[in-house]
Every structure is written in structure tokens, then in C-alpha cells.
């Protein structure tokens, strides 16, 4: 039990970094991340609304649709009304008007998702944005203090980000075993996607990478090995030291999936790029060089008391 506790503490320390002092740059950086998350959610909500109006019946109930009938959502007005609620709830959450706003947005977008994806497809493209919104919702309920809100939500985003990729690798090893990386499996998926793209767009042409992949079995196998290995180490995003390298691999994997299988997970890539690299150091550096006291004062007013982070002090010493 003691070992389990120590393990949980070790993970908590990595993802929440309790000793780390929040800089002005981090505040701006987090606002950007939060804006990205709510923009993605609002975009999904409005994109799904017109589609829901076309659906008449449920083929495969997902999530809460397994317990509650979502037929009432198959209406000309309700999906748009729900998208409006999601937009308002996200805006209220961002402006900290009510601590339950983000939670309302989570439930509303869950309903939008289970209504939109009731025809049999289990879409994963929006999962990352949904998890990030959930992290904001939990943090908003738990913490009034902005610094703690940001620390918890960022830690929770990192936790589920790492868990998601590694669990995907574990599923592959359980579902197929180590031979999952057999290049012929990729050929089969490329064949599947060729039918999908032809049916969706009206034409399909293999790209250069797909042609090489189909020609060379070893290349197809290496690509699958890279994908599986990258997913398996996804959990290492919990460590701030390894995070940028792992995120680079994950972004590369997503591009690989897009080029070989024509499957785009763009919202994952956006969140990975923003959450995976320490952009706040750049912002801190820029703020320090600009040294606009009015801008700094404005940030301080929103953020609360802050001090110069240690790493910036050392950078400042080295600047002639």
C-alpha cells in the first residue's frame, strides 16, 4: 500500500509540479491553451448540429444514449440550441462567471456527441478536446484560485494525454499481440481507407508514401512499429523533461497516420503542440525583453502575485 502511495505521489509530483512558481508567461500560455480547448469544443458543437437534424434513428447508442433515448435531439432546433448552450457555458467558464459552467458544457457536448455519433461510428477525433474540457470543469469546481486552477487542469490534461496513448498501445498488444506490427496489416488498412476516400470524395490516388508502403513490406512494418512504440511511451509526457521529445514523436505519428491512412486527428495535434512544449518560456523571455510595465501590471492583476521563475533569472544573467 505504501508503495502504491509513493507511486501515486511520484506521478502527482511530475504532472502537478507543486514546487514550480507560475510566471506571467505561463499565465498567458495557459489562457491560449484554454481558448484553444473551448474553440475546438464550440466548433464541434456547431459542426455537429446540422448533422444531428438529419438523423432519424439510433443504430449504435454511445455513452449516456445507452440509458436515455436521444431521439428528442433529432430535431431541427434542439441541436442548435444545445450548441448555443455549449458556447455560452464555455464563455462563462472562461470568464469565471460560474464554477459549474464548464461542467454544464461537458454534459451538453456529451449529448451533442452521442446524438451526432448514433449511426454506428465511434469517433475519437474529439476525445482529446473533451478530456481537456473535463479537466477545466473539475479544476473550476475545485479551485477558486487561478494558479491552482491552472496547475490542476494542466496536470489532469497531461495525465489523460499520456494514459490515452499508452492504453491505445496496450489495447493493440492485447487485441493482436506483438505481431500487430506486421506490415500486411497496414496494407489492409490502406485498402480500407482507399474505399473510404473514393466513396467520400469520388476519387482516390495513392500518395508516394502509400505507394512505397505497399511496395515494401519492411517499410510498412517499420511504420507500424514506430506507431506502436510511440504510443507505448506516450505516458512519458507526464515528465517535463521527456515531454517535448515524446510530443514530437506523437505529432510525427499523427502525420504518419494522415499520410498512410488518410485519417486526420487535427485537434489532437493542436493540443499536443500547445500543451507539449514549454512555450511559456518564450513568452516570459519576450515579456522580459519588452519590459512593458503596463502589460506586466495588467497580467499581475488577473493572475495574482508572481515572481520571476528561476530559469528566467539564469537566462537573464547570461544575456549581455
Amino acid at each position: 500500500m505504501n508503495k502504491v502511495n509513493k507511486f501515486i505521489d511520484w506521478i502527482s509530483n511530475m504532472i502537478f509540479q507543486p514546487g514550480q512558481v507560475e510566471s506571467r508567461g505561463y499565465y498567458i500560455y495557459f489562457q491560449m491553451l484554454e481558448l484553444l480547448i473551448i474553440s475546438l469544443i464550440i466548433t464541434y458543437a456547431w459542426n455537429w448540429a446540422p448533422y444531428i437534424s438529419r438523423i432519424q434513428d439510433v443504430v449504435l447508442p454511445l455513452g449516456l444514449a445507452q440509458y436515455i433515448s436521444v431521439h428528442f435531439m433529432f430535431d431541427d432546433l434542439l441541436p442548435y440550441l444545445n450548441a448555443g448552450i455549449i458556447t455560452l457555458a464555455c464563455a462563462a467558464g472562461f470568464l469565471r462567471l460560474n464554477k459549474f459552467s464548464y461542467l454544464i458544457a461537458v454534459f451538453a457536448i456529451h449529448f451533442q456527441y452521442i446524438s451526432r455519433y448514433s449511426l454506428g461510428e465511434i469517433s475519437h477525433g474529439s476525445n482529446m478536446a473533451g478530456l481537456c474540457l473535463l479537466a477545466l470543469a473539475v479544476a473550476a469546481i475545485l479551485y477558486k484560485d487561478g494558479i491552482r486552477f491552472r496547475k490542476f487542469s494542466f496536470g489532469m490534461i497531461l495525465f489523460f494525454m499520456g494514459l490515452a496513448y499508452t492504453s491505445a498501445a496496450v489495447c493493440k498488444l492485447i487485441g493482436t499481440g506483438p505481431l500487430w506490427i506486421d506490415g500486411r496489416h497496414l496494407w489492409l488498412w490502406i485498402g480500407e481507407r482507399s474505399v473510404d476516400v473514393l466513396s467520400a470524395d469520388g476519387s482516390f490516388q495513392l500518395n508516394v508514401l502509400q505507394e512505397f508502403t505497399i511496395q515494401w513490406y519492411w517499410l510498412a512494418t517499420i511504420i507500424l512499429f514506430f506507431g506502436l512504440a510511440t504510443e507505448a511511451v506516450g505516458v512519458m509526457v507526464w515528465s517535463s523533461f521527456f515531454r517535448p521529445f515524446i510530443v514530437l514523436l506523437l505529432v510525427g505519428m499523427h502525420f504518419g497516420i494522415e499520410w498512410t491512412m488518410n485519417i486526420s486527428f487535427s485537434s489532437y495535434v493542436y493540443v499536443l503542440i500547445l500543451a507539449g512544449f514549454p512555450w511559456f518560456k518564450l513568452i516570459d523571455y519576450a515579456l522580459d525583453r519588452l519590459n512593458y510595465s503596463s502589460l506586466n501590471n495588467m497580467i499581475d492583476r488577473f493572475q495574482g502575485d508572481i515572481s520571476t521563475p528561476e530559469w528566467l533569472s539564469s537566462v537573464k544573467k547570461n544575456i549581455p
Partner: protein, 159 residues
């Protein structure tokens, strides 16, 4: 820090409780099981505009190079290809209601054109190890006047 830890553990337990009995999926929670079973045959859909005499429909399963008519692009209809494919592969019983839903999904093209919805299957060739076999089975014929199912699917439905 303690509060953070407790909250994270609580969310993690909720995650486990929700995904475990729901085959790994409870949006936004997922263990991402897609692509976990590699090498399995797959089923997709493909829709074409055809010009058939309704009494002489060609129900023969063919390869991509022997398909009749022209591709009907799902993007041009504003329909997601995955939805049509999943509708075709996951509908257990093709009754009047399912067919009416399919018409609603495809929209007004079904009241204008003759279309054939193909069930497309793909698998690794059982004998030639470096080959993928893709076959197109004519599945549902829809015209402004009639809906005709592949003979194997016809149950009590009126033709």
C-alpha cells in the same frame, strides 16, 4: 497537492467505472481500442449512381474495376462516409424503418437518381500472402420509386 491527488484519483476511478462496462468507450473517456485487432477483414460502403432496369439488377459481387455507374461522392451530399459505412455494416435487420433512415441520411438524391449501395469487404488473401482482396457486393438499390434489397437480405419486406 493532496486535493489534486484525491481529485485525480476520483476522476481516474470514474474513468475506469465508465469505460469498463462500455467496451472502452464513454466519451470523452476512451481506452482507444480502434485498430487494436489488426488483420481482421473489414466492411465498408460505397454508393454509385446507376442506370438499371429494376427487374434486371446485377446483384453479382465484383471487383473495383467491374463496378457499374459512377461514384456518388458522400462529401457532395454533405454526408459522412463513416456513417454510411457503419449504417451498412452494423444494421442487423433491414426493415422499413432502417431503409427509411438510410434514405433520410442520403437525402434528396434518393428521390432523383437510381443508386446502388455496395457493401465492400476487404481481407488479406488467404493464399497469396502479399495481397489484399477487396470485393463490392451490390446491397441496396434505391430509386425514386423503389427500394430493392440484395436477394439474401430480403425477409418479409415487400419488393
Amino acid at each position: 497537492m493532496k486535493k489534486n491527488k484525491k481529485a485525480l484519483i476520483t476522476v481516474f476511478i470514474i474513468f475506469g467505472v465508465l469505460v469498463a462496462p462500455h467496451e472502452g468507450e464513454f466519451w470523452p473517456f476512451s481506452i482507444f481500442p480502434m485498430f487494436s485487432q489488426a488483420g481482421n477483414p473489414w466492411v465498408r460502403s460505397h454508393v454509385r449512381v446507376v442506370d438499371y432496369d429494376e427487374n434486371m439488377i446485377n446483384w453479382k459481387t465484383v471487383g473495383a474495376d467491374q463496378l457499374d455507374g459512377d461514384v456518388l461522392s458522400m462529401v457532395s451530399l454533405g454526408v459522412n462516409q463513416n456513417d454510411v459505412s457503419n449504417f451498412v455494416s452494423k444494421t442487423a435487420e433491414w426493415n422499413e424503418r432502417a431503409l427509411s433512415n438510410m434514405r433520410a441520411l442520403l437525402g434528396e438524391v434518393t428521390s432523383r437518381e437510381q443508386i446502388m449501395i455496395y457493401k465492400v469487404t476487404g481481407s488479406l488473401h488467404p493464399e497469396i500472402s502479399d495481397s489484399v482482396v477487396i470485393s463490392y457486393q451490390p446491397y441496396i438499390f434505391m430509386s425514386p420509386e423503389a427500394t430493392i434489397l440484395h436477394p439474401d437480405l430480403r425477409g418479409d419486406l415487400p419488393r
